[in-house]
């Protein structure tokens, strides 16, 4: 039986996580899969932690990924990746982390990426740190594109069982027309990494 594929996207409010979630869901639909996602709205979006769940496969019931059940964690902020350890498993989880830190208001110190990476390794079969925010800022001038560029990375490196073509089609469906070109560019950046 075809296994479900489970993704967690984590980060901070305002990083475009809901859009990323929608893109993945549409791409899975294009490939004829059953899909469930879960997100939260409201006050949590005001710069708080954000976490969404995406599951697709032949038949999916729960919109939530279970503990230790993630195949892929995409974290748009390194400290938030740590929170996603709950879904991490040595057997199945790949962590794809934006090497980017947004300091936590009121926190005494910020955790260094190296230390986070070491901890993530205990909950995953593979950890990848990519300076996506920095790359998109340099090449496209907009940090918010980090998510789409990480998605491109995941697609071209086959970390997601969805084709880049389907994801690009989904981007066309989800992203407003005026931002479409720049999003496509961000997605395709990873071709060359």
């Amino acid at each position: 039986m075809e296994k479900d594929f489970n993704i967690i996207i984590s980060g901070v409010g305002g990083q475009g996580i809901i859009t990323l979630t929608r893109i993945l869901a549409e791409a899975a639909l294009i490939e004829g899969k059953d899909i469930k996602t879960s997100e939260l709205h409201g006050l949590s979006q005001r710069g708080g932690s954000v976490e969404t769940h995406i599951r697709f496969g032949k038949e999916v019931y729960s919109p939530l990924v279970r503990q230790a059940g993630a195949d892929l964690v995409i974290s748009l902020e390194a400290q938030e990746a740590l929170k996603s350890c709950y879904y991490g498993s040595r057997k199945r989880t790949v962590f794809l982390v934006n090497d980017f830190i947004k300091p936590i208001f009121g926190a005494k110190n910020t955790l260094p990426s190296k230390q986070i990476q070491k901890e993530l390794e205990k909950f995953s079969k593979r950890v990848l740190f990519i300076p996506a925010s920095q790359i998109v800022k340099e090449k496209l001038g907009k940090e918010v594109l980090a998510g789409v560029s990480l998605l491109g990375y995941a697609a071209f490196k086959k970390l997601i069982p969805l084709t880049p073509t389907s994801i690009l089609k989904a981007i066309r469906k989800v992203v407003p027309e005026k931002y479409l070109q720049i999003n496509k560019k961000a997605f395709n950046l990873a071709k060359r990494i």
């Binding site: 899909i35 996602t37 879960s38 939260l40 409201g42 006050l43 019931y61 939530l64 350890c85």
Partner: protein, 577 residues
Amino acid sequence: MSSIKVLAKKGTKEILLGNEAVVRGALESGVQFVSTYPGTPASEIGNTFWKISNLSKEPGSRVTGKSQISNLNLYFEFSTNEKVALEAGAGASFSGLRTLVAMKHFGLNVASDFLMPLVYSGVRGGLVIVVADDPGCSSSAQSEQDSRAYSYLAHIPTLTPATPQECKDFVKLAFEISEKYKIPVMIRTTTRVALQTGPVKLGKILQREKKGKFVKDPHQFVTMPPRVLEMKKELFEKIRKIKNEISEKSSLNKVYRDRVSDGFKIGVVSSGISFLYVMEALRELNLNVPVLKLESFYPLPEKKIKNFIKNLKKVLIVEELEPYIEREVTRFAKVANPKLQIFGRNLLPEIGELKPEIVLRAIAKITNRKLKIENSIKIKNLKLKIPRRTPQLCPGCPYWLVFSGIKTALKEMNLSEKDVVFGGEIGCYMLAGVAPHFLQDYLYCMGSDVGIAHGIKKATKNKQKIIAFVGDSSFFHAGIPALINAVHNKSNPLIIILDNGTTAMTGHQPHPGISRTGMGEEGPKIKIEEVVRACGVKNLKVIDQGNQKEFINKIKEFLQKKEVSVIIAQRPCVFVK
């Protein structure tokens, strides 16, 4: 234009949020009147109708679905509060139109005064009330309420969908039930249903031409005694019929999986989102255990439940929040199967939302399956602890200036924050309670803040100073009666109305203080200062808090007053164009 996916053509499959699927279900039922007050996790219902109602004003024909709704005959409004929304909806239903009213769980508390007699009298055009609960309180202060209690209290038929597809299907069914039995019907969702997305098969959008007309019938609409008790009798008769003809007979409330079991004679009863976790768990544990999925929470299919449990040795009831179904199953088991071992609350938490792994553990336990969730121990020993990232006011938010202005004013008066009681309320300004502000000593429901401030003032004989925050939308929602009460009874809190020109936290919906209505038309703008003045407030200042010096001086002046004082801090939310 992803947001108008709900208008896509029939026969296609679209990924919709539960809330969007509710909207599509209503459109496929020919809904003509929709009212709401925004509140997460139900906000997207109103927001989607809002977008649809404003579509005709958008230029260009490329907008998805525009042609579909050219003759929609749909009226939509953001009402001042949920009670008013339900009353308006009832008026439309009495006039024969199909009507949908949406709110979050606390909204139903506000609307409940009207809901009770409404269920007695019944309706004419189908009336569906959608209520979203928030187990886990991910976007709700106040309390972790289970609105299914209202199903019993009001005797309102209640359906509980689990998926977006069911959100759509059940809304359609609810309209049918409502119109057939002349009774309002409640759809109760939860956060993980309302904000779950999944593929939904779309049917035809029904464009109804029906013109509303209120046909007089005091026999139906006047709840004077002794008629009101006859109405109660008629209501109970309707419920009995719905139980026999819908709950017991329709395709609702099905048993999933074959009853071949593993010799244990174990069964599961579940409902709503919990059912999805049950199915995942059974698949993972490779168990063939029968599951009764209850979709009509009220009235429950008593016969189906009795039939399901009569040959079981053990039953597990999986439901979030209050154990209502468990209590009913326990009651039915006394007759149907007195020896039945009933599990539920003893294996599942009574606080917070359920999760797949919680249900997985419970099912593994009653079926004696070994289960090891791989990271359980490691996650407890996680060395790096990251502090909670609490939400923050947005950069540039006008409330920064209110909170910092208050701090400066107190300093200049040689007062500390300890010397003043700060009343909070529901809106972005509840962030007054977190760093770096810490200006919140109590927080309850919308409209409560001024009432409490008045009581404290009276109890302490004016010894303590109070600053009570009220948002603009909250003021219209429920703040006015409390203000009148404080003025009339000679109280003197300082009330700061934070007027950012929008209902910000729930997604920037309009309110009566803004000229645009939910239909996108110019409406008379209700000026807060005129209302405040009419409530008898003498000390009133309308000010842009960007003018810090004057703002600070006003706070200092008004904190000394012997009467109620109101400052309307008027500066738009950074997201208001």
